[in-house]
Structures are given as C-alpha cells and as structure tokens.
Amino acid sequence: MTASESNSLACSRVRVLLEPYSDGALAREDRQQYDALRAHLAGCSDCRLQHEQAISLPFRLRALSSPPPPDSLVAGVMRTIASTRLATRRAWTLLVPEAALATFILWYLSGLEGITSVASGIVGDLLGLAGWSSGSGSLPSIPHADVLLLLALIALTAIAGYHLSILIRLTPAGRTGSGARRAASE
C-alpha cells in the first residue's frame, strides 16, 4: 500500500497545503485537514522530504521576496566607504573663509569696541522689549544694519553650518572605533 493510498489527502494537495501547515495557519483554520496532513506526512516519505525542505531556514529565506532598494542606497554606501581624508582636509580649509569673514565683520564693526556695542545694544533692547511687554515703556528702536554686514553675517552662518555638517560626518554615528572596542572589553 502506498502512502497516497493510506491517507485521504493526495500528494498534490499536500504540497499546496505545506505552506499554511508550516506557518501554523492550517492548524488554526482547519483542524481536520491539519490532522489529515499530519497523518499523510507520517506515511509518505516524498511529502515528508518536501516538508523538511519547506521548514528549513535557507529555503524559507530564499522564498522571501526582496524589497526594492531605496534610491539613496548607492549614494549612502559610497558616502560611507569614501575616504575621510577629503572631508578632513575640507574641515580644515573651511577655517580660512570663516576666519576671513570673522575678521572682516570685526573690522566692519570697528573692532572689539563695536562688538561690545552690539552686545550692550542687545541687552538694552531686550530690557526695552521686556519693559514694553510689561507696559512700562515703548518699543526699542532697532538700528538699521548695513547690507554688506548682513551679507557677511549670513555668509558666515552658512559656511559655519556647512562646516559643522562636515565635522558631524567625520565620525560615523553609533559605537565604532576605540570607544566601542574599549566598551566591549569592559
């Protein structure tokens, strides 16, 4: 007597049901068919082999569908494996325009005296603003700034922001390098 004859389920039907059987879905949804399939597997070596393959990890991994890679994958990988030497050099060279702009702003504001005047102006205007909000004074009059000065300040802000982004990228986030090794050894 063959295995197929000894059970009510045909081998072809068993092959179809192997997937929900392995997942446990068949046991939840159709107990009768589940018992029949178990009995069939006990007696049919071909189907038992198919079942063992179905529940093996490599087979199931191969059966998984691969999600499409994100558009930024290549750019991200290239950025990660790129040498940091270029970024380090850029981090140093950016100090030059920053220093030049800071010197220009300092000169434009008449040196430290001008900076002190800006600082005291901020404090005075803030106090004026607080007085106005409490109803004991009028709104402070904000001085008009030179367009060249504003452009220099915006340029310095932009370059400094870009510089910061380079410095942040110089060491990858997460536990890498000696810190991680030391932490692991501890």
Binding site: E98, L129, I142, G174
Partner: protein, 253 residues
C-alpha cells in the same frame, strides 16, 4: 583589592582638590589682569585688606550678609613675589567650595539625568580624533552663534530669540563639560591603573581636573574656554548624545 588601591580614588580626589585650591590662591594673587581679565568670575575678587585691618575699615569693601564671620580677613598674607596681590587661602577655599562644587554638581547632574546620552557622547569623544572634532565643532559653533545673534539683533521680532539661543548654547556647553568630566575620569582610571569605581566618582575627579585647569593663573581662562568650546562642539556633533545622531532620513520619505 589591596588597601592602598582601595584608597586610590579618595586620594586622587583629595590631591586634585588641593591642587585646585593652590592654583586658586595663585590665581587670586595674580588678579584680574590681562590675559585673564575674567579671573574674578571664577575665584571671586581678591580681598585687598591685610591681616589686622578689618574689611570695614577699607574703602570699597563691606561686610555682606553671606559672610558674617569675616574669617577670611585673618588669613590674608603678603605675596612673597613682587607685583602680585596678597595670598588669600580662605578666598581660594571659598572659590573651590562655590565654583568648584557648582561645576562638579552640574556635571554630575547632567550625567545622572542623561546617562545614555552621556555614554554615547563620551564614546564619540574617546573615538579616533574625537577631541579634535569636538574642539573644532565648538569653535565653529561659537562663530555660528555669534553671527546668528548679531543677525537677530537687527530684527525686532527675533530679538527675543537671542536669550533662548544663548540658553541652549549654555545647556549644550554644560552637557558637554559633564561628558568631558566623565571622559577625563575614565582616562585617569586607565592611565593611573586605578580600580573600577562608580562612574559618578570618576566624573567627580574629572570635573575637579576641569576646575583645576580653569584656575591656572593667566592660562585658566583659555583652558576653560577650550573645555567649554569642546563641550559645546561635542553636544552639537552628537546631537546631545543622541544614539541616532544627526539624520535627515525622516524628512526624505
């Protein structure tokens, strides 16, 4: 663990405290002169009265309600080196117990409140070129903050944002100094081969090192500015010690 190793940490902390007080005495004697015009900010003004002359008899000084005993007036000695102010150990102890303790408390509070973030930041600091990157980022952040504040100064609406910017920068610098203190404590443990200890004890020793650096006569202001800048840079580079760091992935969906 032998007895001598058991006492290593208290001994180290005691030595660092003593060094801090000695340096503070020297800093007070050096006075608030160039290149350290801000020395008063950390160690307090040098008392110009001498032993035997009550403070109330000296013009410009007065007994304040927080110093009723006036013990300090009895411990002022002439400087053995010409050109320097009097030696005032009492004032130095007072500076250590106020500024030093304040610095240590703030550092420990930062570590207690944000332990995971502090660990992430310290790991970054201990990484390759971590100190240089933190210092560089701090320098850039100072430039960025100054430029942004000057820009905001010329608008009435955003003028009110200036204190918030300064407050955030101060918090970032304090968080960074707390992390630097812990990193220094861990460095001391490795270099001096000290036994394992609670991280807050190590951070306390580290914060005392920062205080000692800050009260070095003349150079203290530069050392403390460097520590504060590195702290600010570290906080910015690690986004306050965030495990994920800076990422714009959420903006790109």
């Amino acid at each position: 663990m032998s007895d001598s190793r058991h006492w290593a940490w208290p001994l180290l902390i005691g030595v660092l405290a003593a060094i801090g007080i000695l340096l503070a005495i020297a800093d007070i004697a050096a006075g608030a002169k160039w290149p350290n015009p801000m020395s008063d900010a950390l160690v307090g003004p040098g008392v110009v009265v001498k032993a035997g002359v009550p403070a109330s008899a000296t013009p410009g000084t007065q007994t304040v309600r927080f110093d009723r005993t006036g013990v300090g007036e009895k411990f002022v000695f002439d400087s053995p080196i010409g050109g320097f102010g009097p030696l005032n150990p009492y004032q130095a102890v007072r500076a250590f117990l106020s500024s030093g303790a304040g610095l240590a408390l703030l550092a420990l509070a930062g570590l207690v409140v944000f332990p995971a973030r502090a660990r992430s930041a310290v790991e970054r600091l201990e990484d390759r070129h971590g100190t240089e990157i933190a210092l560089g980022a701090g320098l850039v952040m100072v430039l960025l903050t100054l430029a942004a504040i000057t820009l905001l100064r010329f608008t009435l609406v955003f003028l009110a944002v200036v204190p918030i910017v300064l407050f955030v920068a101060l918090i970032a610098a304090l968080f960074g100094i707390a992390c630097i203190s812990l990193a220094i404590g861990r460095l001391l443990r490795r270099r001096l081969r000290l036994p394992s200890v609670h991280p807050l004890i190590a951070a306390l020793a580290g914060s005392l090192v920062v205080f000692d650096l800050a009260v070095i006569p003349y150079a203290g202001v530069f050392a403390f500015a460097a520590a504060a800048m590195a702290g600010l840079g570290l906080a910015v580079v690690t986004r306050f010690g965030s495990a994920a760091g800076w990422s714009f992935g959420d903006l790109n969906w």
